[in-house]
């Protein structure tokens, strides 16, 4: 039973509305980069658009989606009323105000600093303050999640917290840790500089603080996809979750090894020493463990479903899976894209290979494939799965057919867009530039491949609109009352957890170990800037005359 439907819907609709608008910008950007003549193409518009697209997709879509989905999980899996509902609405309003502030300043052209900031470049202070408000809204969400789980545990001593909620709280714990880095950067360095209170900024420190956030934030976006893999996909496939303990371990490992690893974004930076880069690179490698655990567990769960459905032989069960169900289809497509995106990620985290792809289009292509592909397609599937519960209407066969088409279009579009993009990156195509001079014979051959990426982008845009349309249709459909879904059915584990050690049912131990890891990985890399202050870099104000 979900009581706070409006709270969840308010979050998710704002997330998806911003997503659809930002998708238009994305296509236009690829168009500008191509040899075809795009309207309004000048560098100022391009960087304005890149900033808006990145801010919308990476901060607004993700944060609001995670918050809305978290509230949904808290009510539907714990089967109790959400605590602190007033605070939850207040958090939402903070996020709305922050989003409006950020969007207005970006569109006005006063904050074309890209969503990863890049000081000493600074834009209007209200852009950063807007983002801080969005983050503050998400902190309220974290608190609500902690309280919801704590209250439930008090009422159910010794009982295992439902996996969906355990994972959601793992994400909230991680997010609380994650945002410390960027909040420190914004509050103590960038915002004072943007207001003109300080004339110089220690760029080494700001890059290091941002790296603290930069990798873990990606896992914050990824968590909903993993939650769906473990708690929704096996049920949709008609089977059982192969191992719930494996799920809990995976979420704990993601929590531990998503944070002390951010220096792998600074491999080419001079301000950090080799020892710490190596240590964090090593810890990054450990992130593959929960990923592979998940691929194994979910494949095993699907195998159970396929065999229950009459599948035989080594691979015969795959054909027997109910691929017509959007959640099953999306999981399959997400895994397919995960092989490419994850493989690319292994290259990025390897020091030597990273040097080759550094600052090339490869990196942009990589994060579009892994985030826009694997993660966002699961956002769609989650929305399709929970929307009937939220609006009290079941999809009919036509709805389902359009949902499948939308998922296919997204996956194919993402591959068409990102594979040539990767390839051009390997060939040295640089990123963060507003146009390429295709009359230069050295790079003339890039042109056709960028056009292919543009075609992929158009497919993605069509899919984005179809997605919004599909959700709207669910609101509009009239259905007889007896088929209205009343609650969310989560996947049951093959072997129910009858007793559980405290370590797998809470986060006290893991917070302590995470603190240990963070001290080992980040204490000196940050303290060095205080021990040996740099002369500072002159702040450049984008929103003031040159």
């Amino acid at each position: 039973m979900v009581r706070n439907r409006n709270l969840v819907l308010a979050h998710l609709w704002l997330a998806f509305a911003v997503f659809a608008l930002a998708a238009i910008l994305g296509v236009w950007q690829m168009w500008v980069r191509s040899p075809l003549h795009a309207p309004y193409a000048d560098p100022e518009n391009y960087f304005r658009s890149v900033t808006a697209h990145g801010t919308a997709m990476a901060y607004v879509l993700t944060t609001l989606f995670v918050m809305g989905y978290g509230y949904f999980v808290a009510e539907s899996s714990l089967e109790r009323r959400l605590p602190w509902q007033g605070a939850a609405w207040a958090g939402y309003m903070l996020a709305v105000v922050g989003t409006v502030m950020a969007v207005v300043t970006v569109l006005s052209g006063n904050a074309s600093v890209l969503y990863t900031f890049y000081p000493p470049l600074t834009g209007s202070p209200f852009y950063y303050i807007g983002l801080v408000l969005v983050v503050a809204g998400s902190w309220v969400w974290c608190a609500v999640m902690f309280v919801a789980m704590a209250q439930w545990k008090r009422e159910n001593p010794g009982v295992a917290v439902p996996l969906a909620m355990f994972a959601t709280v793992a994400n909230a714990v991680m997010w609380a840790w994650t945002t410390v880095g960027v909040a420190a950067e914004l509050l103590f360095q960038v915002i004072p500089a943007a207001f003109g209170w300080t004339e110089t900024i220690d760029v080494g420190m700001s890059r290091t603080l941002f790296s603290w956030t930069l990798h873990a934030i990606v896992y914050f976006w990824l968590f909903p996809a993993y939650i769906a893999f473990y708690t929704m996909a096996p049920a949709a496939a008609g089977g059982r979750l192969y191992s719930e303990t494996m799920g809990r371990l995976s979420f704990i490992l993601l929590l531990l090894y998503s944070l002390p690893v951010g220096l792998h974004h600074l491999f080419m930076d001079p301000e950090q020493s080799t020892g710490f880069k190596f240590l964090q690179s090593f810890l990054t490698a450990l992130v593959t463990v929960p990923t592979l655990l998940t691929v194994f567990t979910i494949s095993a769960s699907f195998e159970i479903a396929g065999r229950l459905n009459g599948g035989t032989g080594l691979f015969g069960w795959i054909a027997k899976l109910p691929w017509h169900r959007p959640m099953v289809l999306a999981t399959g497509l997400a895994f397919f894209m995960l092989w490419f995106g994850g493989g690319g990620g292994l290259i990025n985290m390897s020091y030597g290979m990273n040097a080759m792809v550094h600052n090339t289009s490869w990196v942009t292509a990589h994060f579009h494939l892994i985030f826009g592909g694997t993660v966002v397609i699961m956002y769609f599937a989650i929305a399709y799965e929970i929307w009937p519960v939220l609006v009290g209407r079941s999809p009919d066969a036509v709805n389902l057919a359009y949902q499948r088409r939308q998922l296919w279009l997204w996956a194919v579009g993402m591959m068409v867009m990102t594979l040539p993009w990767h390839w051009l990156g390997l060939n040295g195509q640089w990123r963060r530039v507003a146009h390429f001079d295709y009359s230069d014979p050295l790079i003339a051959w890039w042109g056709p491949w960028v056009v292919v990426s543009l075609i992929g982008g158009v497919m993605l845009l069509a899919s984005a609109f179809l997605f919004v349309w599909n959700l709207l249709r669910l609101h509009a459909r009239r259905v007889p009352a007896e088929v209205v879904p009343v609650g969310m059915r989560y996947a049951q584990p093959l072997y129910p957890i009858l007793r559980i050690p405290a370590a797998l049912n809470g986060f006290g131990l893991w917070n302590a170990l995470l603190l240990l890891l963070m001290v080992a990985a980040y204490a000196w890399p940050i303290a060095q800037f205080i021990a040996y202050p740099s002369p500072g870099t002159i702040v450049h104000h984008l929103d003031r005359a040159g």
């Binding site: 110089t200 020892g275 190596f278 090593f282 001079d437 007793r499 370590a503 080992a520 040159g546």
Partner: protein
């Protein structure tokens, strides 16, 4: 639901702690001991230095950069944009600057900084930082001019700062050259807006423009005399003027044709 025995709880806790500490020891051991020792030995660096560098606590590592060469540099410029310099410029006394300008500057540059002689640059509309940089360079010898050099030779830091504040009324006040200049041809406008990749020429507006990312001392070109701009481009091209850090303007100007210099000067002058 039955309870878990305490020994099982402890086992979970102990193994978790061991696994995390083990990861730190293995990763740290490789990164701070094995790699520095092996690579240090191959590079002729002793074990202690190699390990300290891996931590970043000895010169030669990021936190403690190796000091630059002590040899006397060719005087490009000696202006360093430290926080102290910038604050001194912001805190300058314009009335002292005005009194000093009345003695030394207004005969050529006029009270408003708007000289009628096209071989003398207009100061009006420049930023404090641009004027400070040039005065400082004249004093240090980085830039030479038979009139200016003796006039600033005996000025102290405060005098330079006050003069810069007097003439530099518009703080960072470059006027956007892309809006409203005379039409001098598509090629010149393309050079201004996009540069020329074939000659490795960056666009002029990447530094000289509204919201541009150029260094703080970048002068405003808009409304400057075309004769003066052209003369400076030629001086940069020949290397006669060389107070631009990193050869920024010398590398640009040396690639321009004489007619491009002339047309760019007209474009920026607005006349």
């Amino acid at each position: 639901m039955s309870d878990i025995p305490a020994s099982a709880e402890n086992r979970w806790r102990a193994w978790s702690i061991l696994a995390v500490i083990g990861a730190i020891i293995i990763g740290g051991g490789l990164g701070f001991l094995v790699v520095p020792l092996v690579q240090g030995a191959a590079g002729g660096v002793d074990a202690y230095t190699a390990i300290c560098r891996a931590f970043g606590i000895l010169p030669g590592s990021p936190a403690r950069p190796t000091p630059p060469s002590q040899a006397n540099p060719y005087p490009v410029t000696q202006v360093a944009w430290t926080e102290a310099t910038i604050n001194a410029i912001y805190g300058a006394d314009r009335s002292t600057g005005a009194a000093l300008a009345a003695q030394r500057c207004i005969a050529c540059h006029t009270v408003e900084g708007n000289t009628p002689d096209p071989t003398i640059p207009r100061n009006a509309g420049q930023s404090r930082f641009a004027i400070y940089k040039q005065l400082h360079d004249y004093r240090s010898g980085a830039r030479k001019n038979e009139t200016m050099t003796p006039l600033v030779a005996d000025l102290d830091d405060k005098a330079i700062v006050d003069l810069a504040a007097y003439y530099g009324r518009l703080v960072r006040g470059a006027i956007d050259p892309l809006r409203g200049g005379p039409f001098v041809g598509v090629e010149i406008e393309n050079l201004v807006a996009n540069g020329d990749i074939a000659r490795n020429l960056p666009p002029c507006v990447s530094c000289h423009g509204v919201k541009a990312g150029g260094p703080i001392e970048t002068p405003t070109l808009t409304s400057q005399y075309p004769q003066y701009i052209e003369a400076q481009l030629k001086a940069f091209a020949s290397g006669e003027r060389h107070n631009d850090i990193y050869h920024r303007m010398r590398s640009v100007a040396s690639k321009l044709t004489p007619s491009e210099m002339q047309l760019l000067a007209i474009y920026y002058s607005g006349k």
